[in-house]
């Protein structure tokens, strides 16, 4: 499989500390690629580098023939690389529907009629309804995000990323803080939305990784420790050693 998202020699240094250190990454097109590793391994930093929220100290990121490094996050999002955030991050005052409409209009620019009321334009209504139905939030479309339950918030975040109709979807710990039931629902949901796109996933829950990922990259101290299919990775002695004493190893 050809790599759709590619990093070469990627590094990020914070005041002398190398959070990501000379990482090469090839994300194969159409697959689910999981990034795992103990806390502080640099997974979130790597995510921020891939999506333009951080500028690399060295190295480059390419998406197809587009150079991503150095571009601002909004440009990268519009090119087709969308992300979710690790910490639930929504607009407390906007309803679920407004969130999705905002994401839908993000890619379109405003045009000349930006002062017109949304209701009059109404052109995103159907798409928004579809997306909310996809993540099973259709009934909560008019609920303010602040009033949604944790699991629903995470589902809404996924709908936001999907609204950009991305070729590559980066999910930062999509099941973090969820109970078993929500985890299953999320796994099922990701399994559905992966059709026709590439998913990159930071995940601590090894059951989730086992059931979704085609390829796993293990990071430790900002470097790639091992890479391959899940079945291979879990037997890799270096990986086992990296996880020893880490609570995540018990998953």
């Amino acid at each position: 499989m050809a790599a759709v998202l590619r990093a070469r020699g990627l590094a990020k240094e914070f005041r002398g500390f190398r959070a990501v250190d000379d990482v090469d990454l090839d994300v194969p097109e159409g697959g689910v690629h999981a990034l795992v590793g103990p806390n502080g391994a640099g997974k979130t930093t790597l995510f921020n580098l891939l999506t333009g929220f951080l500028r690399p100290t060295a190295g480059r990121v390419t998406f197809g023939e587009h150079e991503l490094s150095g571009r601002p996050p909004e440009r990268i999002a519009r090119l087709g690389v969308a992300r979710s955030f690790q910490i639930t991050s929504l607009f407390a005052q906007l309803t679920a529907r407004e969130h999705v409409e905002l994401a839908l209009q993000g890619g379109t620019g405003l045009g000349w009629r930006f002062w017109r009321s949304d209701k009059r334009l109404g052109r995103f209504g159907d798409r928004a309804r579809d997306l909310l139905a996809q993540v099973r939030l259709a009934d909560l479309a008019d609920t303010r995000a602040g009033a949604l339950s944790y699991g629903h918030k995470r589902a809404l975040e996924l709908a936001l990323a999907l609204a950009l109709d991305p070729k590559v979807l980066l999910l930062d710990e999509p099941t973090a803080g969820m109970g078993a039931e929500d985890v299953d629902a999320t796994v099922e949901l990701i399994g559905r939305v992966r059709d026709g796109r590439t998913v990159v996933l930071v995940e601590h829950n090894m059951n989730v990784v086992a059931s979704l990922a085609d390829k796993v990259t293990v990071l430790q101290s900002g470097r790639v420790l091992a890479e391959g299919p899940y079945a291979e990775i879990r037997r890799d002695p270096r990986v086992v050693a990296a996880y020893l004493g880490d609570a995540d190893a018990t998953d």
């Binding site: 909004e74 999002a77 607009f91 906007l94 002062w115 009321s117 609204a163 950009l164």
Partner: protein, 287 residues
């Protein structure tokens, strides 16, 4: 007493207009604009200079001065504030504080510290009967303009696509960018609009308050307290708190005149102790 309360609403209108501008600018840029009072003062002086030098009437000044100041605000953001945006917000506090001092002293050099006279527009020189008491028409007009301006801003923010983006960018700039929206593009117009609101308040103040270089710095301290009471960055909170503080101050002035000047700060302390994020602020708003 009722008339006092009405006076309070009118002074609350000034608080609300200024606090509204401060709130949108703070929300979008994370910058407390210390120059806000100076732009209010420039609004009043703009109206005065237009009338005094060119005989331009209040009715022309009312739309023209805020627009011109809005353009000045755009220039200030583009040329100065933007350069410091990546640094600690403290640098922009210092910058806007410096801008305030420079503007104030430039006006002081030209016109001195004494107050300049600005007549009420003749169409509004009388008074209207409000049923229970008669009241200067000009003040009724000020209140009306302020309420309309607040409603327009509210409509723009809550009902238009541009407004939705500005609210989103105010609340969570990172997520907004992740949705493919260029937040930086919206900073300049929002800054300009905030300054234009300060200019509008200034023009409205010219016929009823002393037009002098220090009128802004006198008022803005109370407005900062109003913003803190409403909740930093809360647009709705700043307007409600502006009118509420105006009325409470006026009523206090009636019963306990000695306390009225201090009241806004007492309210601020009480609110901070009780709800550190302000009445309508978000909890994360606590710095």
């Amino acid at each position: 007493m009722l008339q006092q309360a009405f006076d309070g609403l009118v002074s609350g209108a000034f608080y609300a207009l200024l606090a509204l501008g401060l709130a949108v600018i703070f929300g979008m840029l994370g910058v407390v604009n210390f120059a806000h009072g100076a732009f209010y003062m420039l609004g009043a002086f703009g109206a005065y200079v237009l009338l005094d030098h060119w005989g331009v009437s209040f009715w022309i000044a009312l739309p023209v001065v805020p627009v011109v100041l809005g353009v000045v605000g755009v220039a200030v953001e583009r040329l100065l504030v933007r350069r410091l945006a990546a640094l600690d917000p403290l640098y922009n506090f210092l910058l806007t504080f410096g801008i305030a001092l420079v503007l104030q002293d430039l006006v002081k050099r030209e016109y001195g510290v004494q107050s300049q006279p600005y007549p009420r527009p003749s169409a509004l020189s009388g008074s209207v009967n409000l049923g229970l008491f008669s009241y200067p028409s000009y003040r009724v007009f000020v209140l009306g303009v302020a309420v309309v301006a607040c409603l327009v801003v509210w409509y723009a923010l809550s009902r238009t696509r541009a407004g939705m983006i500005v609210r989103a960018a105010t609340e969570r700039p990172e997520l907004t960018r992740a949705l493919g929206i260029d937040v930086g593009r919206w900073v300049t117009p929002v800054f300009g609009a905030g300054i234009a609101l300060a200019g509008l308040a200034g023009v409205l103040a010219a016929p009823m308050r002393a037009v002098n270089p220090l009128m802004g710095s006198d008022l803005i301290i109370a407005v900062f307290a109003v913003v803190v009471i409403g909740g930093l960055g809360s647009i709705f909170g700043s307007v409600v708190s502006g009118f509420a503080v105006g009325v409470l101050t006026a009523v206090t002035n009636f019963y306990l005149p000695s306390l009225s000047q201090t009241l806004v700060f007492i309210l601020m302390v009480v609110v901070l102790l009780w709800r550190p994020a302000g009445l309508f602020g978000r909890e994360e708003g606590v710095a």
